[in-house]
Amino acid sequence: MALLKRLARHKLPPVTFTLNGKACSGRAGDTVLTAILAETDRLRLSDFSRTPRAGFCQMGACQDCWVLAGDGERIRACSTALEAGMNLRTIAEPRS
C-alpha cells in the first residue's frame, strides 16, 4: 500500500515505469522516491538488521533512499527525477 498521498498535481502527464517488474505510473515532475512511495511503502531494507526503510530527509542528506535502476545502477531516489521507462527496483532482498 502507498505511503505517500497525492494531494495535487493529479492532472500532470503520466510517466510510466516499472517497479520490481510491475508496470506503474507516476506524474511528470515526480522524484523516484515519490513515484515509488505512491505505489508501495518501502524503498529498501537496512544494511544490517534488514528492516524496511522508506527515506527520511528527502533532501539528499540521510542516504536512506537508495534503490536500484536499470542494469544494477544505484540511485538516490529523493534526488533523482522520474523518467519514462525507468526500470526501478526496491532493495528487497537481504544482502548475502
Binding site: 544494511d47 544490517f48 542494469d71 544494477g72 545502477e73 544505484r74 544482502r95 548475502s96
Partner: protein, 391 residues
C-alpha cells in the same frame, strides 16, 4: 598540576607496538606508563589498511612475522575482542609475466619459512576467483594470511593494557627524555614527570626526534597511505588482495564494506596529519571498479589516510639503543607494521625482562644505517620499491 610517576618502563607512543608491549610487560608483572600525544592507536596503527599478511615480507622479517601469526587468532583471549580478524588468505596478483616471475622467485626465497605459498596460473585463477577481472597473469596465495580491523585492534590493545594495570596517558606528548643515574626522566604534557628504568621508543613517524636525542639519527621519512571504503555490499571478495608491484590492495569486511588502497595522500599544513587528494581517491576508486566488476555500480562513502614512518631500507628499527643502556627502539614499520606489531610487543617485553629475545631481530638494529654506505645494509636487500602510480 605536576605529578611524578615511578615506573619500570615508560613507553613513548601508544600505537599497536607500544600498546602490545605495555600489555605484555604488565603480564610479566612490570609497571608501565604508556604515553601518547593523542589517542592511543589513532595514527598509523588505527587507520591503516588492516592487512594481516606475511606474504611479501623480506626473509629477515619472517621469524617475527610467524611469531605474530599465532597471536592474531588469539586476540579474543588476549584483548577481549577478535578485532574482526579473519584468516581469509592473501592473494597477490601478477599483471605481467615479469611480476609472475617475481612472485615465483619470492616463493623460492621464503620456501623454508612455512608460508605455504600456492602459485596459481591464469586459468586456475579465473576458475577460483571469478570476481577478479582484468588481464591477470597469475597470483600467489598465502592461505594463512588475512585481515583485521585496525581501529578496533589498536585501541583495544591499549585498553587491555590499561585494564591490566598500565598507566595509559593519552594527550600527553613527551617533551623531554633524558638519561639519569637510576634510569630515565621524562617530561610530558599536563605537567607529568616520569621516572623509569627502561624507555621504549615506539613513537612511529615521530620516533626520529627521540632517537636523535640519544645520538642515534635515523633515515626516518613519512608516508601517507590513503584508502577508500565502499558502502556495505554483498560479500564477494573472499580473500585479501594485493598486487605485485603495488598500485592496489583490497579487502572486504564481514559487514560488506570494501576497503581499497593504493595511493598516497598529502600532508596537511600540520605535518602530523595528512589527507587524501581528490584525484588520488578517484584513482583508487576507478582501479577498484576495473579490477572488481561487482564494484562497478557501487559508491565510495569515505576516504582517509594516515601518517606512517618509513625507513630508507623499509625495514623497521627494533632493538636496544647502541648509545644508551635500557633504551629500546621499535619504529619505522614502513607501511607494513600491522601484522607484526603484536609480535614486536612481545619481543620488546622479552628484551626488557631478559635482555634478549627468542626471536631474531639482528637485521633491525638501529646502527645498521651508520654501517651502510649509502646503499642497503649487508644482508638485507629491500624489495623493489612499490610505486603507487604503477598500474
Amino acid at each position: 598540576m605536576s605529578r611524578i610517576l615511578h615506573k619500570d618502563v615508560a613507553i613513548i607512543g601508544g600505537g599497536l607496538v607500544g600498546s602490545s608491549a605495555a600489555l605484555a610487560l604488565r603480564r610479566m608483572g612490570l609497571s608501565v606508563a604508556l604515553l601518547d600525544k593523542g589517542f592511543c592507536g589513532a595514527q598509523a596503527s588505527g587507520v591503516n589498511y588492516g592487512g594481516v599478511r606475511r606474504q611479501g615480507r623480506p626473509p629477515e622479517q619472517m621469524a617475527l612475522s610467524q611469531r605474530a601469526h599465532v597471536i592474531w587468532p588469539r586476540l579474543k583471549e588476549i584483548i577481549g575482542i577478535d578485532g574482526e580478524f579473519v584468516r581469509s588468505g592473501h592473494l597477490k596478483l601478477a599483471r605481467t609475466e615479469a611480476e609472475m616471475a617475481s612472485l615465483e622467485a619470492y616463493a623460492t626465497r621464503v620456501a623454508g619459512f612455512g608460508l605455504d605459498l600456492e602459485l596459481i596460473g591464469r586459468n586456475k585463477l579465473r576458475e577460483r576467483f571469478p570476481w577478479i577481472a582484468g588481464d591477470i597473469v597469475g597470483a600467489s596465495l598465502c592461505a594463512g594470511d588475512g585481515h583485521a580491523n585496525p581501529r578496533l585492534v589498536s585501541a583495544t590493545f591499549a585498553l587491555a593494557a590499561r585494564r591490566a594495570g598500565a598507566e595509559v596517558l593519552e594527550h600527553t606528548p613527551v617533551s623531554h627524555v633524558e638519561r639519569v643515574p637510576e634510569g630515565f626522566h621524562l617530561s610530558a604534557g599536563s605537567g607529568t614527570e616520569i621516572r623509569a628504568r627502561f624507555v621504549v621508543n615506539s613513537a612511529g613517524a615521530w620516533a626520529g626526534t627521540f632517537a636523535e636525542a640519544f645520538g642515534e639519527p635515523v633515515p626516518l621519512g613519512r608516508i601517507y597511505p590513503s584508502m577508500i571504503v565502499t558502502e556495505p555490499l554483498d560479500v564477494f571478495m573472499t580473500v585479501n588482495i594485493g598486487a605485485e608491484g603495488g598500485g592496489i590492495y583490497a579487502r572486504q569486511v564481514e559487514r560488506g564494506n570494501c576497503i581499497v588502497g593504493g595511493m598516497r595522500a598529502e600532508p596537511t599544513v600540520d605535518l602530523d596529519f595528512s589527507r587524501p587528494t581528490g584525484s588520488g581517491a578517484v584513482t583508487i576508486m576507478n582501479r577498484a571498479a576495473d579490477l572488481f566488476p561487482a564494484l562497478r555500480n557501487t559508491y565510495a562513502i569515505r576516504c582517509w589516510s594516515g601518517t606512517e614512518g618509513e625507513m630508507s631500507d623499509r625495514n623497521p628499527v627494533i632493538g636496544f639503543s647502541r648509545t644508551t643502556p635500557n633504551l629500546i627502539h621499535a619504529f619505522g614499520f614502513s607501511g607494513a607494521g600491522f601484522q607484526i606489531a603484536p609480535g614486536v610487543g612481545e619481543v620488546l617485553a622479552e628484551l626488557i625482562r631478559d635482555g634478549e629475545s627468542r626471536t631474531p631481530i639482528e637485521a633491525f638494529t638501529i646502527d645498521r644505517f651508520a654501517r651502510m654506505d649509502q646503499g642497503s645494509p649487508a644482508g638485507s636487500v629491500p624489495e623493489a620499491r612499490k610505486r603507487e602510480t604503477s598500474k
